[in-house]
């Protein structure tokens, strides 16, 4: 193996509470909140106003910038308001609020069955763009942009990410078990768009039933279904590329530069639904888990459903949570209110008690070096945290490769001094960013 072969961590996966539970799709939400910024790139521009009647699947906000994404109504009903609303990652942000009419009617012409094999590349790309599909693994980068590499950058490999390395989350796992056929079709569509022969689906080896299910669904297609070692952060783009292809993405570059495109299994399924059935992205699978949740579950939810409603469908809070998190325990974002909506990138809702978190008072670094062993990027998190603590941004940037950090959280996890290493790194990155820029 190239480079560093001792990396990552082996936290308790905590997946047993939900990995055996079939995906439930329960009652419709009475109200959905659809932020116009659910993706990386420019916010979508609302096309509806207060009082408008909308149907399920109707385009309600348009992504106009080169990197942006469309947004569709996820229920049928009336637009209550277009106003600022708590957002899971962006504080308060403009959102379109729709009140359900209880009918759940499709917009005109939906769904449409298509024979995807007869479509050409440009047509498929247009469908993916119009369906508002973004990376559903959590990064929410618009998929059509990722599928349109520059002409001078040849792509030879497509990697489908089914690793799901974050503890607690089982949404991708259940999806691969229950919707193997849709995921498989999505992978084949992506393969066609990129025109590559080399396609690998990486699944962590703690989900051997998913490896088997996907292997059967993809039999005879030439797509390799690979069981990769269970180790966090195996599902990070750069580490999965290293595991499956032995290539390393150069510092500061995109996977494109080594001829690889990575897509999440959830994205593949959304692509299948859009291209084959004409459906825009209006729902996703979310794991609701954590010690504070009464009945942890995998739920199929309309985008825009509030966290509170998803939690209520999972039996509510057993105990008051110390943290409410969108995403996984390592890279998820804490919420200050359960009124935030599920957005396209929300793969999990975790309500954690103190026992789940197990943090403690922070102490000075004792230089034990465990963070260096854990870091998948081969950085020196100890030094980065010390420099961040003292605001020595220049040194962190120039000598300790600050920007190579992907904030996976391995270093903070293993730290015996409970140092908030990732926090210091984020702080340094923010200080290092040009004023006003990102």
């Amino acid at each position: 193996m190239l480079g560093k072969n001792k990396w990552g961590i082996h936290p308790d996966t905590h997946k047993t509470s939900t990995e055996g539970k079939p995906i439930e799709s329960n009652a419709l939400p009475g109200r959905v909140i659809l932020p116009v910024s659910q993706h990386i790139g420019a916010p979508a521009v609302p096309l509806v106003k207060k009082g408008d009647l909308v149907k399920k699947g109707q385009l309600i906000a348009e992504g106009q910038a080169p990197v942006s994404s469309h947004l569709h109504a996820t229920i049928s009903g009336k637009v209550l308001e277009v106003a600022d609303h708590p957002h899971p990652t962006l504080g308060k942000n403009p959102a379109i609020v729709i009140e359900s009419d209880g009918l759940d009617e499709w917009a005109e012409g939906l769904p449409t069955e298509r024979d995807w094999k007869s479509l050409d590349k440009a047509e498929i790309l247009a469908i993916i763009k119009n369906a508002g599909i973004v990376g559903l693994g959590g990064a929410t980068f618009p998929t059509y942009v990722k599928l349109s590499p520059p002409a001078d950058n040849p792509i030879d490999t497509l990697i489908i990410n089914g690793a799901e390395c974050e503890p607690f989350l089982t949404s991708d796992h259940r999806m691969m078990l229950e919707y193997s056929e849709r995921v498989a079709t999505g992978i084949l569509i992506l393969k066609k768009v990129l025109g590559v022969e080399n396609v690998a689906l990486g699944i962590e080896d703690n989900k051997m039933n998913a490896v088997k299910a996907m292997g059967e669904a993809l039999a005879g297609t030439g797509v390799k279904v690979m069981a990769v070692p269970t180790r966090y952060p195996q599902g990070a783009e750069k580490t999965l590329i290293r595991t499956l292809t032995n290539r390393e993405v150069p510092s500061g570059k995109l996977p494109l530069s080594v001829g690889v495109v990575v897509q999440n299994v959830g994205t593949a399924m959304a692509v299948c639904d859009a291209v084959r059935n004409g459906l825009p992205l209006i729902e996703r699978i979310v794991t609701v888990s954590g010690s504070a949740i009464a009945e942890p579950k995998n739920l199929k939810l309309r985008i825009g459903t509030s966290f509170a409603e998803a939690i209520a469908q999972s039996g509510g809070f057993k105990t008051p949570p110390e943290k409410l998190i969108m995403g996984g325990p390592f890279m998820g974002v804490t919420q200050y209110t359960p009124e935030v909506p599920i957005i396209k990138g929300a793969n999990g809702i975790l309500a954690f008690t103190h026992e789940d978190i197990n943090d403690g008072p922070e102490a000075p670094c004792i230089r034990c070096g465990q963070c260096l062993d854990a870091c998948p990027m081969g950085l020196n998190p100890s030094m980065l945290s010390i420099l961040g603590e003292r605001s020595f941004v220049e040194e962190a940037l120039n000598e300790y490769h600050l920007l190579d950090c992907m904030e996976c959280g391995c270093c903070a996890f293993v730290c015996p001094a409970k140092r908030r290493i990732v926090h210091y790194i984020r702080y340094s990155k923010k200080m290092a960013a040009p004023k006003g820029g990102k």
């Binding site: 480079g3 504080g91 290293r242 390592f330 978190i357 197990n358 943090d359 102490a363």
Partner: protein, 395 residues
């Protein structure tokens, strides 16, 4: 994404829930309040305040806990913080007390071997170190952290490197120098440059050279004629005299391996110290590279530069004699004062081994582990600066 995320990286109240049910549900819940970060009015200040952490944040938590019922209705608050939200079951106290525990076999053997005076010295060293640490931290108005076991470990290691029957003031003065001067004058745990226990010993060596080299007869070996350590005999009378004292080569090795020989309190039993060290390696608290490299370096160099020319040395004796085993497993692996990368650790261990041999064979002292580790501590920052871990994507 991170800059956006940080926009609300602070604690905020839950907005009143929209449905009545939820309001009721919340009203029934116990109030729980916690804050991790200082509140910040705007971004400019946020950025500065984030760097001054726990003391301030903890104070806030305390204040809030004391008067939580100020809101009109009970509101359940949640912590908003930077990820990750999951931490391993590890801590500094856990590491330090484990190291203390791995020293226990050697300590018990020492008490059996050297008797009550050794026990008193060990106790005085460890306890006075704890008291000095608590007093220093109280004086400096810092949180008192003696429970983490690092001061106890420092005092214990210091006492283990002292002759068995020194007057009781010796371990106490040594602990004072180790804890107050070598540790807290530099900023406390994590900031000290030199191994505090070895600084304590070095200071005692230059201040009371006679007391520090008076080796009393062992309890368990009644017929021992000399009260010198094996390395002392080697230095003063030569290799032949050494073999004569112990009878034969194999007797000498046996005495060193099991520990029935003279020397500092805790350094005599190779097997028990190595067992403790192996446990630490198994727990991954220390890297096996360090003891292996350091001991191997000493073995190879002493064999090469033997008394009768190339390759005539006795590596087995040198590898087991003196404080090399305790030094290689417990001092050269000290996390704070040695390099952080594995390659750096290797350089450190090889350097310490080479300096030990230099002092033993050429220098005026019979033993050099203490000074060689201190000398290598000096270059640790330099090693860390030049030896960096292998980066992803920068081949």
């Amino acid at each position: 994404m991170s800059p956006e995320r940080e926009n609300h990286d602070q604690e905020q109240e839950i907005k009143p829930a929209k449905s009545e049910k939820e309001i009721q549900a919340k009203a029934e819940k116990p109030i729980k309040e916690k804050a991790e970060k200082p509140e910040k009015p705007d971004k400019e200040i946020e950025v500065k305040e984030k760097t001054e952490k726990p003391e301030k944040a903890e104070k806030q938590v305390k204040e809030k806990r004391e008067k939580p019922e100020q809101e009109a209705k009970p509101v359940h608050k949640m912590v908003v913080s930077s990820s990750p939200h999951m931490f391993a079951d590890t801590s500094i106290p856990k590491i330090m007390w484990t190291v203390n525990l791995t020293l226990l076999p050697a300590v018990l053997f020492a008490v059996y071997h050297f008797g009550l005076p050794a026990f008193k010295t060990l106790l005085a060293g460890a306890l006075s170190a704890v008291i000095f640490e608590a007093a220093t931290q109280k004086f400096m108005k810092k949180p008192i952290t003696v429970k983490d076991g690092s001061a106890f470990l420092c005092g214990l290691l210091l006492a283990m490197c002292l002759p068995p029957a020194v007057p009781l003031f010796i371990p106490i003065v040594g602990s004072f120098i180790a804890i107050v001067v070598a540790k807290h004058a530099f900023g406390g745990l994590g900031y000290n440059i030199f191994n505090p226990a070895h600084i304590g010993r070095a200071a005692l060596m230059v201040s009371w050279p006679v007391l520090m080299t008076t080796w009393t007869t062992m309890q368990t070996v009644v017929d021992t004629t000399t009260s010198a350590t094996p390395l002392n005999i080697l230095k003063m009378q030569g290799y032949e005299a050494l073999i004569q004292t112990f009878g034969s080569n194999s007797e000498l090795y046996k005495a060193l391996f099991v520990g029935f020989r003279n020397g500092s309190i805790g350094e005599t039993s190779v097997i028990l110290l190595a067992l403790g060290g192996l446990f630490l390696i198994y727990k991954r608290y220390i890297d096996w590279v360090v003891p292996v490299t350091m001991i191997a370096t000493v073995g190879i160099l002493t064999w090469l530069f033997g008394p009768q020319g190339w390759g005539s040395g006795d590596p087995l004796f040198h590898m087991m004699a003196g404080g090399l085993i305790i030094g290689a497993f417990f001092m050269a692996t000290d996390m704070v004062t040695t390099p952080i990368t594995r390659k750096g650790k290797l350089i450190f261990a090889a350097g310490a081994g080479a300096l030990t041999v230099l002092i033993r064979l050429v220098g005026g002292y019979p033993e050099g582990v203490c000074y060689s580790i201190l000398l290598m501590n000096c270059v640790t920052p330099l090693i860390d600066r030049y030896i960096q871990p292998a980066l992803y994507g920068r081949k």
